[in-house]
Symmetry: C3
Subunit: 313 residues, 3 copies
């Protein structure tokens, strides 16, 4: 494997999930696989779980991880081609990515979308430009349209928790006060469908996701119908895709509560975190037995470790 930026195919996903579950039992079984190798964790945006879990995954494999908040520790990057750099950005991605590529064996990048330039976000302009000039295997720590390490951890969690072969998995939109990227929702749909789960997506009218990621899912604006008999409910806000980057309605009545789960008594609740309590999901759910959010976060370590080991091998 050269890079890890999105779902590839059913077999690869299963292999990564199995590897991760193996590392969860035996974290240090490959403790010298990464010896003498270095990974640069490059952040253009904040991160808690992704940052720490990837550092730990690298360390479990004997790799050295160096973290760089590039716009903060280093220099504000320019991504436009051919521009005369007489404004705020100090260094072009062409130079920065190539230099970092020469310093590290593997690079990992977090680059959120602009949510203003739809075309550039959709083509993953920042991520792919960086990857192009880095010239080294690259791992997505969340890009404009996908968050594959999160989705891999989610699939590991479902695999551990499911009691039937093809569980009903529901992705339900939740309210938020800010315009939030589509990456987690897109990626979750991509992986859940790729892993051949029975996926239902529910959201208020106008909040349709890019069809590229949702083909094969049952999509409905009726949250009640969607949640019925669910085995797993993944809660996530995202902003409007078609009227790009906008918030059309606050949708307070879309918050997930115990009451809404009355027709899905066995449903397990998932969220990638950070979660806004009592806005996206009620306290009663997050503090109760249905919640898998801690299991998901814990599996982030082993998802990253599986991906790193596959690149190293």
């Amino acid at each position: 494997m050269k890079s890890f930026t999105q779902f590839k195919d059913y077999d690869s996903a299963n292999e990564l999930i199995e590897t991760a579950l193996h590392y969860k039992k035996y974290p240090y079984v490959d403790a010298s696989l990464g010896k003498g190798k270095r990974i640069g964790l490059i952040f253009l945006n904040p991160s808690l779980r992704t940052r720490v879990s990837t550092q730990i995954a690298a360390s479990n494999l004997g790799m050295e991880a160096i973290v760089l908040n590039i716009d903060q520790d280093g220099w504000a990057l320019e991504f436009e081609d051919g521009v005369k750099m007489n404004k705020k950005s100090v260094e072009h991605v062409k130079e920065a990515a190539a230099v970092l590529g020469s310093y590290f064996d593997i690079l990992a990048l977090r680059a959120f979308p602009s949510l203003t330039d739809k075309e550039k976000d959709m083509e993953e302009y920042i991520f792919t430009t960086f990857a192009k000039y880095a010239g080294k295997p690259i791992i997505s720590l969340e890009s404009a349209t996908r968050h594959p390490l999160q989705s891999l951890a989610d699939m590991i969690t479902i695999k551990e928790q499911k009691v039937k072969d093809k569980p009903k998995v529901v992705l339900t939109w939740a309210p938020h006060i800010k315009a939030i990227p589509h990456a987690v929702a897109n990626s979750f749909a991509e992986w859940a469908l790729g892993c051949d789960y029975d996926l239902t997506i529910t959201h208020p009218p106008g909040y349709e996701l890019d069809e590229k990621f949702t083909q094969g899912a049952h999509i409905t604006i009726d949250q009640e119908e969607a949640l019925k008999d669910a085995d797993f409910v993944y809660v996530k806000n995202w902003c409007v895709y078609h009227d790009y980057g906008k918030i059309q309605m606050m949708g307070d009545d879309w918050m997930l509560t115990e009451e809404k789960l009355s027709a899905s008594p066995n449903a397990k609740i998932m969220h990638c975190l950070p979660v806004r309590r009592n806005l996206e999901i009620s306290d009663e759910i997050l503090d109760g037995k249905r919640s898998l959010v801690q299991e998901q976060a814990n599996n982030r370590v082993f998802a990253a470790q599986a991906v790193l080991s596959k690149i190293l091998k």
Copy 2:
């Protein structure tokens, strides 16, 4: 030992001091005690000595330390219970602490007081809430009301420097331009009294500390009387406790100078740093032979190492 957040008892304090002095002679004697263990150093506030000395202490024991400026690198935390999170804070401590607890073997947290909500500060709301949800041994890197690693380093320093069994130790208030927490002063009083030293506290009227920490000390508003025949003088500013978080007077005449030490020729001067020169303490003292501030800072490494090793064992 499960956690380290405050003075426990005379015997435990002595054991930590002896262990620290042993590590000061032989820093690498337990170089593999922490092998395969990880500590997360979580900062809600700035830090120089605490940050670096704890990183070094962990490294001396073969532990991996990962530093996280959580509000900056990660997400602004919410600490209120039951709140609808539709404001600035992005992640609840319940999630963040539990996730970090799952990633690390030991956590260490710096959480300054608000200096506006007295009740919450006094009950160590932020620190104890984090500790509760972290579910792992936790070390205070300074909390709302205490700074125990500093006080342990201070006790190590006094132990090294004292020439009589029960030295006269004076804690004297000093001027400052900002409202400064009570943590260092409280903690120093707690440890000095617990170590059975002869403690005098002096401050301008109105600057009384919480009695919980000062019982057993001689307290006076007469700085001259307090300083007489002192063996150790600990200089520290703190804001008003009773009219919580306020500055009642600038108290320029409370700065410690050589002149004020005319009746205590052998007094050694201590300060936790950072110190404001010529506001809290005069240059002549800090640049002279009485000053122990560098010894205190240096002992921070071995204080942290003693605490870590006790938790690891």
Copy 3:
């Protein structure tokens, strides 16, 4: 070697260059030289290459590197002597440097010039004050007037690339929108002259550098004449030295382009990065075969490794 802050002499420079080229071939040949040693990388200003390359150099030698953005992670420093600290700065360099000196075996500091106080900048007030109180070997990660690790990497690059004994090396001023320090230009001149290269410096009238660094160079305001038959062209902006810290003209016509290199067909182009594309140097050059900027950045690792190993030995 006790410290590394500037060019010393021809023999020392050559020895460092040879050592660096050896490490470039065999990075891990001294992998246990720095075992049990620690270096503190202290930043008062942003850094990408310097930060990461020095971390990697230390790691190649088995040393532990701890990075501190001191004004950000720690406390804003005061450098004035004798001042009453009742303003913004929280900690005096006297304390901070001495504490860090006690924590580390080697310190490295980045301290840009003020560009307002010429005298203090010229005497390297911040750097030398820090070094004085640190009391440990110190490495410049760029100070007010010099950037010796960059210049060493530049000399390594020229050594690797030159096809004649005494190549013609040109340092040419380039436009910028901000007032940029003289450190890289000074240092490059100092090292190129010290290495006995044929150095020409060209800049618009008024942009003369401090003569201390340029004696022995051919200096001209005629860029075309300067560039003729050049083997290496080092491009760099700097602000006015005599009317200190000012920008006298934007000098758009000083940008380096392919057209300007028509009379120097074999010229290799160098820049320390970050570079402002299409303001300092045109895209065509940076994306073409003349550019050595990546080689220079890559050599930063081995320059730092050579310096560290010489201090360790």
